[in-house]
Amino acid sequence: METPETEKSEETSNLGNATGSIWSQLGFDRFSALYVLVAFFIFFGLTEDSFLMWNGSLEFVLTDKVIVLMLALAFLVPLTTEAFDLSIGAIAALALLIVNKIALETDLPQGIGALIAMGACLAIGWINGFIVVKLRVNSFIATLGMSQVVAAIIRNIHDGGQINGELTKTYRSFGKGDIFSFNWPGTGSEIALPWYFLYGLIITVIVYYILEHTPTGRHMFATGGNPEAARLSGINTDRLTWGSLVGSAALAGVAGLIYSFKVGIYTTSFGAPLLFPAVAAVFFGASQLRGRPNVWGTVIAVYTLAFGIKGIGLRYPREISWIQPMFEGLTLLIAVAIASRQLVIKVQKRKVSKGNLDDGEDAEIESTS
């Protein structure tokens, strides 16, 4: 029964060996998303006039997707410890709602409202951590349940429709104001990037720094790789899992705040629907660069997906409502399929390159793939 499959994977490993040099020199295996991104730019740049225009799509995609990027990082952080956080979409929506509600119904400064919103997000993240670490509920179940609880809280605070908290200019300019702006010579179109784009960039760099350049990050990946081995190496795996869930809630809260700078108004379409693109980007990103979840792979994935969708939207404006989810869904499936296929090839290669075709042990490796 198993024979044809295993033979096949062995063949692909040989194929991988044969073409490996050119393939890996060009980095197709590690930078495939960048190549796809370039392909999008060439294709849509040639066929759609507005694609390469700043006001046409560049600015929109760059700034709009900061929110998805924050949510993707929110998903990525606990994923390093093998914990899933599916409540991030709902948490982002809660932050946005609280900011608007406080602005609308109280006299508190709106900045304080934003702090309260962040406080609420951190509290929910803390509870997520408590449920996962102390009550030993699988994180997938725990955060799925929590996302529904948060959705219920949102509906209790505000029953449907949108809220316009009429956020003041002072508040919104904190994020929406331009870092720089100038006129592109010739065309006269204004090129500008808002502050929140910079905030997103800074947060991304911080997450990257923590995950890849600090003992804490190393310990998080160790926890995800083998929790018992990590614990026996003196790592407090419970605290890391807990902390990563608080961190993900904080990042989700930031996504909500950025939206409040950018758009301001709370609508029901914000939040939960953004979970999927974020998750897709993280797994797509995991197939890039390092072959495991990582920050810059996620960044590349977020923007590759976004530009692809934008291009398709320009080309087929009427069809985009169904093409977008189709595109995101297929990307996730293909990316993960390719990633696990690479893993199969890697394992095959390892077995061969070992220089020591040992007995018994390769059975163990196979069982992990």
Binding site: P215, R218, A222, G360, A363
Partner: protein, 525 residues
Amino acid sequence: MGTLLKIHELTKIFPGQVALDDVDLEIQTGSTHALVGQNGSGKSTLIKVLCGFHQPTGKSSASYYPQSIKDTPSLDEAIELHLGDGKAAANAGIRFVHQDLGLVDSFSAIENISMGVGYTKRFAGSIDWKADRKRAEEGLASLGFPDIDVNVPVGLLAPSQKTAVAIARALHDWDKGASLLVLDEPTASLPGADVERLFTAVRRLQDKGVAILYVSHHLDEVFEIADTATVLRDGKRIATLPINELDHDKMIELMIGQTLVKRQQVAKDFDRSTNGLQIQGLAGGTLAGIDLHVEPGEIVGVAGIMGSGREMMVPLITGQTPSDQGSVAVDGTQIQNYSPKSALNAGMAFLSADRYSQGVIAIQSVRNNLTLSDVRRHWNSFKLDHKAEKVEADEWIEKLDVKTPTSETPIGSLSGGNQQKVLFGRSLRLEPSVLVLDEPTRGIDVGAKEEIHQLVDQASRDNAAVLVASTDTDELVRLSHRVVVMVNGQISEELTGDHMTVENIEKAQLQSQEQKMKAGAHGNA
């Protein structure tokens, strides 16, 4: 006896590696043929070619003589067996029980056997569970395991019972033309006492005239049940000999290509200080409360059968499993808030028995695995200094003679012995004053085992107090200055000097078993 299976000039070449080089193998009817060799000698590859997982290279050929098929006159003519074809092997009557057994833990024995064999169907197409149940019970009874509950998930069975289920499944159609049973490392995951039970089953098969190809690197087992042995080394067949022409040392010599010097610790006097590892009244699980003191520079071995408390010793000392009572002190300082972390902070380092699930992070690099015990030492107050970390990893790779392409290779791709060396490095880099080891060489081949033993020696020479719990009695005699034997959760005997022999240790362990059985009989009455 006639020839049953003949493999001729079997060669398997992987890119850049000759795994099998012109190997001939001839198996006689009714014989138990052992296939031995170190890890990497090619024995697994041979089995994988035979079962059709790998394709052979070149002019490899094989033939079999179908003589055990009922109602078929024995043929003198050989039938060609197409190597690398799973179906052909099955048709030739070759049955396999692989190391991981291939059982679904959450299924019962009935379901596991039916899953491999095919369900008995009633005429409407529904499964006839009664018939399936009968088949499972009969199959297991004929192996000498009539006491297995065929309804409970096999995950709840003892390891030897699981192996029996896998064998019963492989041999379900024994009388319909199966000819050869291949057992690939059947005892790899079995604790000592279970091996005996498995051998009872194997002996029953031998009595029935079943030919067995027995793959193992436990030489004791080979001597106990095989009548012929083929030794592989570096993909070549070194010898095929009747077992009575071989002895333990001769076999090792054939396997590793050089003579192995037997070593033992020189007796030493230790002054009874408060330093080293001090255990007082430690209890939890099967461990009923023990006192033990290991001096700096001393190696104390812990022996005992499964359930004697030996298996709980290391988890309790290291804080992996919370203890019910008792205390542990390192160099006179009692450890507070017991956890692996506080034990490490107190100056203890340890290796747990299950390297795969509790030791390595398989997908991460050798470097990451090595420095995991204390990655902070490469923190330069701004970021992790990956370069310095690599330098340290390379130093350890050289020092411990780890065979790995680079420090960035995923540790999961190394052999068991090399993984274990990295884990030793993970512990030794902490310069521990107490080193606690559980089954330090389980599943590791002879050559690497000796290297690991030398590392343990070195640690004790560096004045660490070393505690080694092991089911490998040979290993305890080889390593220890003193061996304590666990019985019913307590230390029953302490052996030193000339009394510390394999025989004495095994006797002490067995005594415990007898006592326990007596106690059990009383309890039941």
